[in-house]
């Protein structure tokens, strides 16, 4: 085998010696040290070879999928899952293999459904996967990849269940309440689990709440009256349920550690703020929609500033700046390609840029 790595190292050592950076003795010791190490190409070739073998097996199995009897296919998948589980148990590449085991378990459930031509929907499949994968993922996984795969699975399961039952929920007037209960249940996770998973779900649901309240402000752009909205009671019930649930979670958490009244007020007011444009009727105004968004994020910036969360403060300032630019484009988009439009747009961008820099600098000093 051509030792490209060794040749490159020797050449570099010779250059350092010729430049007078190292003496002959040091050059000799460095060359001997590098020569004693295993060639770097061997592990890379081993990985490529192993991957090639694995891909070849997958290709052969895929090409003959229909010819392989169902018990053999399922048996092979079960054996693979058991082998991965035992590998996790022995501690080999634990985080990566937990991720693989989790994905393979979902695949195994789908494989059984496919083999017996079951007619269940995606919600049942994902709920089954959550029931099976949650215990080992929560108990053993520590990394972000596993946390976010599980979170994606949770949201996919909830989303598909919601879609599959949307008509029944709408008929019962429970659309808002079901969404509220989902958010509150996740937000209350630290009450059941004080560790990283509880904090993770709590933060994710806070993110969902903020995203939903922010996105709801676009409804101000619509042109409808409150009387046009047949599900007004549903929206009110959902907002009330969310507010009551979130307040209860904050009250319970405050028993462990001193609460932050302004954060509690912000979180409890968010569902009502999200419901407001639906209940008031659209204002048919891009400016009102932008104002609703900016006001909400201004509140977030003030909370972040008070709590010393510089990163969140920066995000809030940038979100407001981006929204101001967007509303300008919405309102004066037609003028942008004229001379007046370009001048006005440029002045606005310069002003926003100056203001953002100033706010972020002040925040940095305060921190």
């Amino acid at each position: 085998m051509i030792d490209l790595h060794g040749r490159a190292v020797r050449s570099r050592i010779e250059r350092w010696r010729d430049a007078g950076l190292i003496d002959d003795e040091t050059a000799g010791r460095l060359a001997a040290f590098e020569a004693s190490r295993p060639a770097a190409g061997v592990p890379a070739l081993t990985v490529i070879g192993a991957l090639s073998v694995a891909l070849g097996i997958v290709a052969i199995v895929s090409a003959n999928w229909d010819q392989i009897p169902v018990p053999a296919r399922l048996g092979g998948h079960v054996a693979l899952n058991l082998a991965i589980g035992i590998a996790v148990w022995t501690g080999i590449a634990r985080e990566l293999l937990i991720l693989v085991l989790s994905a393979s378990t979902l695949g195994l459930l789908a494989h059984v459904g496919q083999s017996f031509q079951l007619q269940g929907g995606a919600a049942g499949l994902l709920a089954g996967w959550l029931a099976l994968a949650t215990p080992f993922t929560w108990a053993l996984a520590r990394g972000a990849a596993n946390r976010w795969l599980w979170t994606a699975g949770l949201f996919a399961a909830a989303g598909t269940a919601f879609v599959e039952n949307a008509d029944a929920l709408a008929d019962a007037g429970l659309v808002g309440t079901s969404i509220a209960l989902f958010i509150v249940a996740g937000y209350a996770a630290p009450l059941a689990d004080r560790g990283a998973w509880g904090r993770h779900l709590h933060a994710v649901m806070l993110g969902v709440l903020v995203t939903a309240a922010s996105a709801a402000q676009t409804v101000w752009r619509s042109d409808f009256t409150a009387a046009d909205l047949p599900a007004g009671a549903d929206v009110i019930a959902g907002a009330a349920c969310a507010t009551a649930g979130l307040l209860a979670v904050h009250a319970a958490l405050a028993r462990r550690a001193p609460g932050r009244p302004w954060l509690t007020a912000f979180v409890a007011a968010s569902p009502a703020y999200a419901a407001l444009p639906f209940l008031a009727g659209g204002a048919d105004s891009a400016v009102v929609a932008a104002l609703g968004f900016c006001l909400y994020w201004w509140a977030i910036s003030q909370l972040a500033h008070a709590a010393g969360l510089t990163g969140l403060y920066r995000l809030a300032v940038l979100a407001i700046a981006a929204r101001v630019v967007v509303v300008f484009i919405e309102a004066f988009g037609g003028l942008l390609f004229t001379g007046v439009g370009l001048v006005a747009g440029g002045v606005l961008l310069l002003a926003v840029g100056w203001l953002v820099r100033r706010l972020l600098r002040n925040a940095g000093r305060a921190a």
Binding site: L109, L118, A139
Partner: protein, 158 residues
Amino acid sequence: MRGHRLPILALLILPTLAVTAWAAWLAAERTAQPALRVAITGYDPRDLLRGHYLEFRLDLADADGLACACLHPDPATPRHPAAVPASCGAPPPRDCRHFIAEPRQVYRYYAAEERALALQEELAATPGGIAVTVHFHGDGTVSFSNVSAGGVAGSTSP
């Protein structure tokens, strides 16, 4: 940590064993479940395939609008059993061996690529269309096997 080694192994292995037990139960149930060969029609009559899935309805002329039905094999019209209305809420009557909910819904059947293309050709070449074996679970849900142009007409149940 050493004391927790076995519970951790159980956490990692039990989900797979649970799915294995479920698959074994499905296989055992399938041999005991009543089954019927029923003709199918494409959800889109021009095109039965959706990727690797066949999308189809059971070809039951008298089942339109029924929430639940009992299918009764009819020797005069093999692969087209008669659909008799049944109550969805109550348990099916004793003589209702082939109880089905929403008999005209769209079903999906997975087929590997080559098999799916062959089925498409079979459908085009067979005047009477193709049929599927319907396995009745007793609670109104069904599963399928053996989509093909041939097959035994009428009941295939044990």
